[in-house]
């Protein structure tokens, strides 16, 4: 076998809707793919990112040049499938080294039908996206740039599509993971029951809750409040997910009916839904926040936390209704990163405290959530 893949990989190109073309070689599955082209600056965690439902509908470019170094494992998927539409890297190795690795990244993508492109000047792509903003793009092997561009222009725009219904579970289920035994509840009492509304949930959220002694029921995005409350939850978590929060009126309505009835934690898309509920409008960021190094300042403690982020939309805090306040802000651009309801046990974060990929610095927020769950449990209050 050639270690250099000489002549093995076919030429491929990434064509952007604005006409910019990046040349490379095809990796992963053959065929072409279209999506919104975004980049993440996280240096590790490609498998977790590929399977993060928040990337649904997007072509993901990694700014770190070497991908696939530690292969792919049976345990690193964050959802049931690869969620990105396509994958763009500078270099993809076929020589991974890790004791958990079962397949190369190329094999992994190929088996899941996901096209990718390697040998791309991904730094040039990042610079392009940061100055121009995110843009639709397509990966192709056999078309001319003109052909690809024509096809791309006929494709629907990212923002117009409801991705949540595509990634959410169709049926409610109780989350189990043999590798994560049920932990001891914070108060040592019976396991709290947390209902996770799946807008595109990552498994690690459910693992963390389970490890903290919670039983977890995950329900489809369109489950109404009555159905959720009938599960007798001790707390409800609105999960992260893909796309424009303005498409989620039904989840806003559900949330409205839950506030005051049960503690709520909202993450990412879940945070945006709660924001809308309390009067905030949403807008699209130029090139989003995607990476594992985003500094967020807690307005109450003054402390800065390094967070894992993956969002293209943000909420505008200007019109928030009174009992809800902005509790955390992004240090780089001042965007709203967390909300706090001063009267009810409701708080939200724009970033991913469940990490995977990324830093675990804010995992304590799950404890904060469970504290409110505990204090409101029957018999404890």
């Amino acid at each position: 076998m050639s270690l250099l893949n000489t002549g093995v990989r076919p030429p491929a190109r990434l064509v952007l809707a604005d006409g910019r073309v990046f040349e490379g070689v095809g990796v992963g599955a053959a065929g072409h793919t279209t999506g919104e082209v975004v980049f993440t600056t996280a240096m590790t965690g490609y498998q977790e990112a590929l399977t993060d439902p928040s990337f649904s509908g997007q072509i993901l470019s990694m700014t770190f040049p070497l991908q696939g170094n530690y292969g792919t494992s049976l345990f690193s998927d964050e959802s049931r499938q690869v969620q990105v539409r396509g994958f763009v890297v500078r270099e993809m190795t076929d020589l991974p080294s890790h004791w958990l690795s079962v397949h190369t990244l190329h094999e992994y993508l190929e088996a899941r039908g996901i096209p990718g492109i390697a040998e791309v000047d991904t730094r040039a792509l990042t610079r392009h996206l940061r100055s121009r903003g995110v843009v639709m793009g397509t990966i192709t092997r056999d078309e001319t740039p003109e052909q690809a561009l024509a096809r791309l222009r006929a494709a629907p725009d990212y923002a117009s599509i409801d991705y949540v219904s595509g990634v959410s579970t169709a049926e409610a289920y109780d989350f189990e993971d043999p590798r994560v035994p049920l932990g001891v509840a914070p108060d040592g009492g019976p396991a709290p029951h947390v209902v996770v509304v799946d807008l595109g949930v990552k498994r690690n959220i459910m693992r963390i809750l389970r490890a903290r002694g919670c039983t977890v029921t995950t329900v489809p995005h369109d489950t109404d409040a009555e159905a959720i409350l009938s599960l007798r939850p001790d707390g409800v978590l609105l999960s992260p997910g893909p796309g424009d929060p303005m498409l989620l009126d039904h989840v806003v309505a559900t949330s409205r009916a839950l506030v005051g009835k049960t503690p709520i934690m909202g993450i990412c898309l879940g945070h945006q839904v709660i924001g809308r509920l309390f009067g905030a409008s949403c807008y699209k960021l130029k090139f989003g926040h995607r990476g594992a190094n985003h500094p967020v300042r807690d307005e109450i403690t003054g402390k800065v936390h390094i967070t894992s982020q993956n969002h293209g939309f943000a909420i505008d805090g200007d019109h928030l209704v009174s009992p809800v306040q902005v509790a955390q802000v992004h240090l780089n651009d001042g965007t709203v990163e967390g909300l706090l309801h001063r009267e009810e046990p409701v708080f939200t974060i724009q970033y991913h405290s469940e990490a995977s990929p990324g830093p675990n610095d804010t995992e304590f927020l799950f404890d904060r959530f469970l504290d409110s769950v505990r204090s409101l449990r029957p018999g404890v209050r």
Binding site: S2, L4, T41, T63, L66, P96, R123, S131
Partner: protein
Amino acid sequence: MIGQAAEFDYAGTQACKAMREEGIRSILVNSNPATIMTDEGVADVVYIEPLTVEVLERIIARERPDALLPTLGGQTGLNLAVDLAEAGVLDKYGVRLLGSSVRTIKLAEDRELFRNLLHEIGEPTPRSAIVESWEEARAALTEIGLPAVIRPAYTLGGTGGGVAYTEEDYERICKSGIAASPISQVLVEQSLLGWKELEYEVMRDGNDTCITICNMENLDPMGVHTGDSIVVAPSQTLSDREYHMLRNSALKIIRALGIEGGCNVQFALAPRPDVVGWEGAGETDCLPYHVIEVNPRVSRSSALASKATGYPIARVAAKIAVGKRLHEVENAVTKRTTAAFEPALDYVVVKIPRWPFDKFISGDRRLGTQMKATGEVMAIDRTFEGALQKAIRSLEFGSRSILWQHPEWGDHPPLTATDERIWALLASIRRGVPLAEISGDCGVDPWFVERLARIVEMEKRLLSEDLTPALLRQAKRLGFADRDIATLADRLPQQVRALRDEWDVRPVYKMVDTCAAEFDAVTPYFYSTYEEENEAPPTGRQSMLVIGSGPIRIGQGIEFDYCSVRAARALQEAGIESIMANSNPETVSTDFDTSDRLYFEPLDEESIRDLLENEAGEDGEAPPSIVQFGGQTAVNMARALHASALPIAGSSADAIDLAEDRGRFGTLLAELDIPQPPGTAVTTLEDALSTAEAIGYPVLVRPSYVLGGRAMEVVQDANELVRFFAAALAENTGAVLIDKFLVGPEVEVDAICDGETVLIPGIMEHIERAGVHSGDSMAVYPPQRLTAEQREAIVDYSTRMALGLGVRGLMNVQFVIAPESDPTGPGVFVIEVNPRSSRTVPFLSKVTGVPMVQLAVNIMLGQSLREQGYEPGLWPEGDLVAVKAPVFSMQKLVDVDTFLGPEMKSTGEVMGVDRSFAPAVRKAMIASGLEVAPGTPFLISVSNQTKARATALIRDLHEAGCRLYATEGTATLIQELGIPVEMVTKRLNEGHPNVVDVIREGTVGAVINTIEGGRADARRDGFHIRRAATEVRIPCFTSLETAAAAIGALRAGGDYDVRPLLEYRDGDGQ
């Protein structure tokens, strides 16, 4: 010193800048004059004084500072802070300790306290025991088992430690470790050989915000000191979960230690389940790890991390120490975000240590827990292969490219950890050794081995296929140098370059911006790569390139970085854009705000030409290059630049050649009627012998164009000449120089010439006689023993030579004073001229106040000395005496002989300055660890040749009340002088106590040992004496003159002054 190199100059300089930005008055103390931090305009007050509690207390009493910041001066700074606190000095003067508390310093440094703390917070450490005697060590072995690692407490670079595989090793290393530790304490621990080794650089502010700056993975697995390891940033083989598991641990530790500032945590991580005997690894996705070491301060690794990420750790740490929060400090790179974030890299960084084994051929090349490297190089690329290959080029090993192989390597090159392992790995792959076997043998992760295999596969393609544009481009993307492609594809390097031009295979330059291009950044910090988009177009402003000096090595230390940094500043002050090229991550010159543009690149012809072409742009002209500040590295570029019609600022390539070519230079001196020792350049042994015969022995034998006196010898007779000639010729620089060896004091000057006039800032007189390399000599400014006639001759010769050579800028001349050989003249002979700045430039600039580099740069820009306000001739001497003394790292290099000779061995320097000679030399002795206390018993063993000269010294010692011990012949001599002496035998197998016993047991406190000319057997004779003295860290004088100076200082007694340098120089009124 090894373990404390230029990185602390970088840290200290950054800290001073940070203090200035915060409006805080900074008082800096350092004994090293070669540093930028001790330069004017960095700190507010500068003391160049020995780093002792006594000196520090006097400074504190005088300056009454509010606080002491010890975390930026390496281990020396921390140890001194603890000593000052324990001596009550800090309390007495109400000085607050910033950054780390004494408790924190002790927690991290005292193995037992540290281990207890880690266990309290649930962080794993290897099985270990702390022992303070051999008996305790022996008892601990049962629990720990072999192999075991032995680490002495409180030593630099792990001095005195090692890995023991057998019980005999264990006993030997434990005993030497206990001896090396200032508190006689060593840690013995379970060996984690073969585990992955990782480091995290973390920071914390007073509000408990914690961040990681960078993680790094060692290519060499556990067992090799991290300073001796090839290091990659960021880690390459860790999954996301592992990366964050270790990151969590590092943050937990910095919080538990309560550090406000930077901290470095080293980890070992099991690479596979079988290593730890885990069968059911399905239960987990993370294998066990151990915390190995924590440095509660800015370290060598943080300098590397700063350069690898663009995040200025020392600057931010200094701001945190004075109370700023991370989010209140601006990110100097993006100018719009803050220091509270974690850098994202979009490239790969490779660091390779630079070891001194090219100098110390007899040294033990095996690498272990004791650091041996003197410096390091770093390279950046978008692939690991590219970064590795550029790093290897940056080592400046001349003939040792990636294709190098040891001639004695068979089918299985040795894969043990040595400085040659990376080449042995490549050679093994070339020979077809299965990759899994290679990785299994040496523990280097398969990922790295497979990357090397890709390099070897490309080698084979280049050997066998036609060179096409696609193949050439692919080879360049894997980092292949033109020179190696040429070798493999059977072409000349210039042909490969021509093909690259023709096929448009050129590097682009990308920016190091801390944020992986997420934000628009203003850092002018670039690396080359073979991709599409170039981010460093020419700026269109008038600019000049300063070529730096590459890795710190023996003969080329931070003195040259000082010159490069000053050159960049001088250009900026003159309104010219300064472009810096260098490959050394430890230095101030590679700080991105030292110059207007920084290229982090190998300093070889290919890279320099590439970046100059980039600066020239499509049709523009390349900026002139300044080659005279970066030591021999830079000056060696002159020829290549000239050949490529690239402009050189200052002395022309021809002037440089005229000074360096022995024949041409000899002719010039004859024309100028300036004497030099008779001699000539030869290429055959026959010519060498007849030349030596004609001029008479002793003769000095040396290869031409060689740095730091490598393979240079003083030869007494024809037999020796035969032996050394081969070694000199093997240096492969063409000719060998054979010169009459004139015996006498050496004198050195630096001169600045504008083509019309010549300024001589100062004359420096060496304490040691000719024959000791000038870099290893103690130098005194102003000279104490020269006659007026000799001074005039030195000034006259220097002036005429500078003009005759056509020097524009700096020049360094070395003279020997030998009146007997010149009965009719002043007795001044020229030994050597270097048409560039020398290692004495920072020293001389500081003690005279003449801004030598700035003057030289302005000359290159067309300003004469007079226009700059300087008259020709010798600069008036001030009311001070300064002594520059070398510092050696011999404790770290087992099997290296410590005697001073024509080959340079020192790795650093210190300075003692005072109003007169005796206190100045005493301070230099204190700072360089050669101070002799009153009444110290001496062991003396001098060669027959030096016995006559030794008698005065022996009398002095006796009069100073020192008890004398001596070997057989010397004892007889001393008895004849009527002085009491105790004879100790130098025959190690004939009874006790012998010479080594009296040293090891502490009977004597200093050693004088001289050797017979260049006789190798004579060297062997005294080797045990010198080695033993080095190991127990007592002064060992191998030159009678150094000993005489030390004893003179001792006899003079009296006090020394402690003042800021400027007061010595410019008088008390300032």
